[in-house]
């Protein structure tokens, strides 16, 4: 029976190895903040973190998750303790319908975290101040989620501002 670590808690689930992580999260664990959008990894509404990296959970078989740490929107932050990305999402009033926003924020958070650690390795801590703020082009290249309401202008501003905090 596959074991699963989600937001710091361990679960055992009795499902087929091929079942995508998305449906395990939503229906076996009741974590419905992660959304279904396309089922083909095209839109990113289902984005979660696996060991801190952004992954599209609608095409990730549960068998391949193994013992990795899964983080969902429920584990990213709360109203009392928001993630820097969520603080900026609120400050810039990003969401309209809001459906893509859990996945969008998970992508943004992983992008910013990954970028910081890469810079750390490549250039050493001294270079961080110079490169603290991401550029629009970096954001556009890194985040490929779809927002049908078209909140991209605010998403871009929110990610750039969050990058100042995350780094």
């Amino acid at each position: 029976m596959p074991k699963l670590t989600v937001n710091g808690s361990e679960y055992e689930v009795d499902v087929e190895p091929a079942m995508p992580l998305l449906w395990v999260l939503r229906e076996e664990l009741g974590l419905r903040g992660t959304k279904f959008g396309c089922g083909k990894g095209l839109c990113g509404a289902c984005t979660v973190h696996i060991n801190g990296r952004a992954v599209r959970s609608c095409i990730l078989p549960i068998a391949s998750v193994g013992e990795a740490e899964v983080t969902t929107i429920e584990g990213l932050g709360t109203a009392e303790a928001p993630h820097p990305v969520q603080e900026q999402w609120i400050r810039h009033r990003v969401p309209q319908c809001g459906y893509c926003q859990p996945g969008m924020q998970m992508s943004a958070a992983a992008f910013l975290a990954g970028r910081t650690s890469q810079d750390d390795m490549a250039e050493g801590p001294d270079s961080l101040n110079n490169r603290a703020t991401v550029t629009d082009a970096e954001v556009a290249a890194a985040i490929t989620n779809i927002c049908r309401c078209g909140c991209y202008e605010r998403i871009r501003r929110a990610v750039v501002d969050a990058s100042k905090e995350v780094s």
């Binding site: 969520q86 309209q96 809001g98 954001v139 991209y152």
Partner: protein, 731 residues
Amino acid sequence: MSVTRRRVLIAGAAVGGGLAVGLAVGLATVNFHDRRAHQAADLEGDLVALWVQIRPDSTVVVLSPHTEMGQGAHLGLAQIVAEELDIPWERIEVRQAPVETGFSNGNVIQGFVLADQKLTGFFQRVVENAFFLGGDLLTMQMTGGSTSLRFTGWRSMRVAAAAAKQMLFAAAAAELDVNVTELVAEDAHVVHESSGRSLSYGALAPIAAQLPVPQSPVTKDASMYRHVGKSHVRPDLADKVFGTTEYGIDRDVSGMQFAAIIGTQQIRGSVVSIENEADILAMRDVAAVTIVQEGVAVVADNPWRAQQAANAVKFVEAPGPNAAHDTASLRALMEAALDDDERMTEIMSRGDVTTQTGKTVEASYFVPFLAHAPMEPMNGTLWREGGRVHGASGGQNPLMTKNFVMKTLGLTADQVAFHPHTMGGSFGRRAAGGDDMHNFINQAITAWQAAGEQPLKLTWSREVETRQDRYRKQAVARYRGVLAEDGRPVSWQADGYAEVNIPDDAVTAYAIPNLLQRTVHEETFVPYAYWRSVEASIHCFFNESFVDELAQAAEADPLQYRIDLLPKGHRLRQTLATARDMSGWQAGVLPDGSAMGVAAYELFGSACCQVARVSIIDDKPVVHEVWCALDCGLVINPNSVEAQMQGGMIFGLTAALYGVIDIEDGGVKQSNFHDYRMVKLADAPRLHVKLIERNESPGGVGEVAVPHLSAAVANAMAVLGKRPRELPIIG
């Protein structure tokens, strides 16, 4: 229609104390007692089936008949009511109105639109047919046509709130034995300043409830506004950021099963038989497999299992009458119709377009079918509880959806409860204007019955969403213009195969002395639905491309050319001038090889102009930046309006660059986001929005920014020598 009903403000004591005010028109007046019956039967606690309720603790509840799909209607309605009642923002709360006939807004629209003003634009269509199928106003609880703030909010809730305030003041004057003119509102209290005495709204509410309702209350002067025009924060913001908003797809019912669909290849196809039913039933935890409208449904205990099983179903589809049709054949039928003068209907004619001579410009344009593609696919949940059938789904017309459930199951209103959810996008898809839009609810009902009426949620795959949508129409048009010596057009003829319900929205605003616009239109087998901005998404591309071609032929600056062609005082003139100034408008190729294009169009009571700066790289347009100038009359919430402009432009850009639904062998070719592409961050231009404020009544904003970019991008490309006349530009 010759309806001449007048509005009646109504009020009464709220359950649990307090004052409730609302508005009744015609049928709803008669129906007032029904409201109370509904309240007794269905509603909990202090809810009253009227729109604005003042509670004993001086908080105010607004019951919104409009649903949320991201447009921020609840926020705007709350601001309007808080303004008229003169209460602090913290004291107002918006709730979704119950899905009951007492909250239908068909009455409001009928009463206000038909009795009080001339019908224009989209509403003509709305009122006269689409939403009133069967003539039953009481099944309408519609959100669409950019109406929430314009009609429900501005023309009715505002007046109801003003009446409530007047009643509270009258009650206070009597209680304090002073003249009403000596009273002021402060922090939800009525204050007698000279004596320092005051009474709270909550304390006054039950007294006010006994008073007659003023039928012509005085509304606030714009100079006194403190909520309208402020960027209050939408109430659903935090839930959407932390992922706690419950959409229809998240509805959880104990013991729920899940249904998935495999759809027919043909549009509106029908399944004759299932070939491998035993194999499907043998799959893990599959409970049922059944033929449904437009496909086969499989029920299992997990949505993925249900979809896997549905995908494995082998079925025989009835031969469809449209199997020979595809996009090209439908287009050929349209083109042939345009060749036949006798099939044309004149929708606007002035002067004589046949006798003008001069430089002649001719052009043809084409726009394809489009799907709505909301991020949350269609879904619906059904269960039995407390002796009733319950339904849950996101929708722009929940009352009509409830009625569909009642009708399909042969039940009465008191046997069905319906729970509307916030929508993960809609754009017209969930604007149920008839049974045809309820294909997914119909499928859910059949599957629910086949699986023993255990709680069930049907969720569409993206593939079904794309192929069983109802679509923005494909359209073609031919234009012919004649220029005078000075380059101004003396003649404009437009022939289109396109639905024109709203001549004002289809005919160009430019003052051209000789103008003929004709149309031919017949329904195709491809089912139709309103698509964000409705017909303007078609006609703006046609008209604003062609006027640009005339400017190009006249070797004129296309922006100034438009200004010069508009009648003095036309709202679009100022939007053009504003967009020119904010963009640093330049005609011709810019030093970096890019170019600017412009489009200006008025729709849903608002005027909008957009300028796009575009390069062509590898034969494809890259849109760098867009400037948007909007005149939407009175701005209720600037931040919210800006958001709708930003979103509308991206929605329009997706249609301009990528949007196409192809018909192939009588079915829809596209299936998911790889072939029905959306603009993403990488191709989302920088957006600049400027609001031109006017203290008049508010115009629409939810759909207003959508139609322009197709033309503006095409017009910029024309400067660079490659004018697209067919959408999508990239595909």
